[in-house]
């Protein structure tokens, strides 16, 4: 029901985005709203009372020590993990067990994983066109044309007919970004997208993310690339022991964090 209110046509969506990105951040609507979200694995509380609002077109970098619940948190945004108490609303759709809501949300939210998770038995092109064809029912030729455009955008148009294993890590991650974008999501989630990459390949992936941020995409990135955060992020969120300890602009976070734990962590990694 809620899904039918969403604009699914690519044209309508693009117009919408243009109008929105002309507004300053403060005047835009919240595309993600989390209120008092909790998540337990057995007795272990992985995410504890997190409340966060993300504006349309905003880039939020999430960082914190390992095991701090940051990955679990962004995986709850597209319900790869279920939250147990609290509420998550994505683009006006409340996250519940209703399958229709879930399908609508997954169509709006793209995700890029640390381990790429490309489908090894399909060519790059088929990896990208699979979901548009099967979920959005885009005709094959149209989906392939769109896929080639996306590959052009992430800088590897010549790799379309190769298999993932024939590509370098950086190329694979760029394919993964293209694959997520092919569903024309409103929101992109990045779960440590550069952590499994060799140092010389990190830049090419960050460049693709930078370009994406410049188009006004709403992005939630779990990453420890602080250079990227300083340059691209609108806000940074620090997680520790499952809690959202502090959230603020990069300038404030780097120069003058409010919390002692944030300062200590930043001192360790910078």
């Amino acid at each position: 029901m809620a899904a039918s209110n969403q604009s699914n046509g690519p044209g309508a969506q693009a117009l919408d985005m243009d109008a929105v990105t002309r507004l300053p951040l403060e005047q835009r609507d919240d595309i993600i709203v989390c209120e008092h979200v909790h998540k337990w694995f057995g007795d272990f509380c992985a995410v504890r009372d997190v409340s966060m609002r993300v504006k349309r077109g905003e880039v939020v970098v999430i960082f914190g020590p390992s095991g701090s619940g940051k990955s679990t948190f962004i995986r709850m945004i597209n319900r790869l993990e279920e939250h147990q108490t609290g509420a998550i609303v994505v683009d006006g759709i409340e996250m519940t067990n209703d399958v229709r809501n879930l399908d609508a949300i997954r169509r709006e939210v793209g995700m890029v994983f640390q381990q790429f998770n490309l489908f090894p038995h399909m060519t790059v092109l088929n990896n990208i066109t699979l979901a548009p064809q099967r979920v959005r029912h885009v005709p094959r030729q149209e989906a392939e044309a769109a896929a080639r455009q996306l590959l052009e955008r992430v800088g590897i148009p010549e790799q379309a007919d190769k298999y993932p294993a024939e590509l370098s890590g950086g190329q694979q991650q760029r394919v993964a970004i293209a694959r997520a974008l092919a569903m024309q999501p409103q929101i992109m989630l990045f779960d440590e997208p550069t952590s499994a990459l060799d140092p010389e390949m990190i830049k090419e992936v960050l460049d693709a993310m930078r370009e994406l941020a410049a188009t006004g995409m709403t992005m939630l990135c779990v990453t420890h690339e602080m250079g990227f955060a300083r340059e691209v992020a609108d806000r940074m969120a620090f997680f520790d022991e499952g809690m959202l300890v502090e959230i603020g602009s990069p300038g404030q976070m780097f120069s003058n964090p409010k919390e002692e734990r944030t300062r200590m962590f930043l001192d360790q990694i910078l």
């Binding site: 790869l80 997954r106 994983f113 038995h121 099967r134 294993a165």
Partner: protein
Amino acid sequence: MSAAAPAQAMPPPPPPPAMTVGLVGWLRANLFSSRVNSALTVVLGAVLLWALVSLVGWLLFAADWAVVTTRTPLYLVGLYPAAEYWRPQAALLLVCLLLGVTWGRWGRAARGFALGLGVVLLVVGLLPHGMQPLNRALLLLNTAALGLGYLLTARLTLGRLPVFRRVAAALHARAARLYLRRPNRLPPAAWLTVQASRLLNAGAVGLGYLLTAWLALERRPWVRRAAAMQNALAARLALGRPKRLAALAIVSVIAALLLIRGIEGVPGLTPVNTQDIGGLLLNLLLALFGIVMSMPLGIALALGRRSNLPVVKMVCVGFIELVRGVPLITLLFMSRHILPLTFPANIHVDALYLSAITITLFSSAYMAENVRGGMAAVSEGQVEAARALGLRGWQTTLLVTLPQGLRNIIPAIVGQSISLFKDTSLVFIIGMLDLVEMGRVTIQGNQEFLDNGREVYVFIALVFWVFTFSMSFVSRRIERALGVGRR
């Protein structure tokens, strides 16, 4: 070399260590490395040689193959009525045509098998044994059917036509490699080998060039015309398209089965008593049915076992564990003698169908466990990626996890198929005359063959080996084509 290079420049990587090539070097390193090893090598070599000499001596001189050659149809099709032999022959023709089409479509993956089968059929067709001229001609026609099927789908390119050119080039390259090896450094025996093979190669290269020049096929106009026509025909038929190929496969297999069994009321296709279908034909029919049907059934059982629905899961687990816990021979016996007790008295189920169904159910339980293992090896990240893209649960299974899982278990599927094929010989327990049972009956039922058990079982073993080896050969090709372990 590195000393001469400037200090800043990266020195070139060192060359690989010299290979200790040559037969003599290998022998010394592996078979004669110490006194004990040398003694062992000599003793074992003598034993092997003695065994080989006795075996070959028996095969060539002592063995009396009349028991096989005078009864060939019995081993191949059992008690199938002799007047109807053309029907299994025609079925085989259909299969060969289908295989040829597959070869044209898949190229390398099916080529070895198709060529191998063509050669085997040709040899069998030409061997001296009691066979009517018509049947012999039909058998020889299979090779033509293979070629025809190939021509219906393959895209021939003229540049590849002259095989001899490629053979000559390969030989030439080999000769060049040997020449570069500097024979004067080799030990005398190896030096002799090299010189001898050089001579041979020189001869072969010259012969290859002569043949190429003589044939020069692609320059002849009629060859060009024929190739163009073939290409046009293949493009028009487009049998290589997956859907058409699958449809062709299904149609020809069903047609083959109908031919063998016969259809009521169609003149010339009088139904054959299923008890009379025997010999190799029976083994092949049961194995084919079992392999083809146990795949979908096994996949369904595996998916059921992974299901979240408790009843579905319980039923699947129960079936799998029950069937795997009982030997096939027991299941066959029960299907024949105990199951009918539960039927109404007037229903009679044929032994052939009963055994086919039993074998399928038996195999599907094992197949289910293979599939489950293959799917368990697919990483959780694949499922997450599919779900994050918005694919439904069943789409994720059908498009992402199942294809990867099945690719993981190609070797296991083939292993399962091989053992299923061999297990079909157990149907003797319910009185069916498969190849092995036919051999036993032939020996014991004929006074003159009582001493020829060896010949019969050697022949049967060879037949089984040819088929099982072909299966594993094709499997290796498919694995390579799909890149198992590479991607």
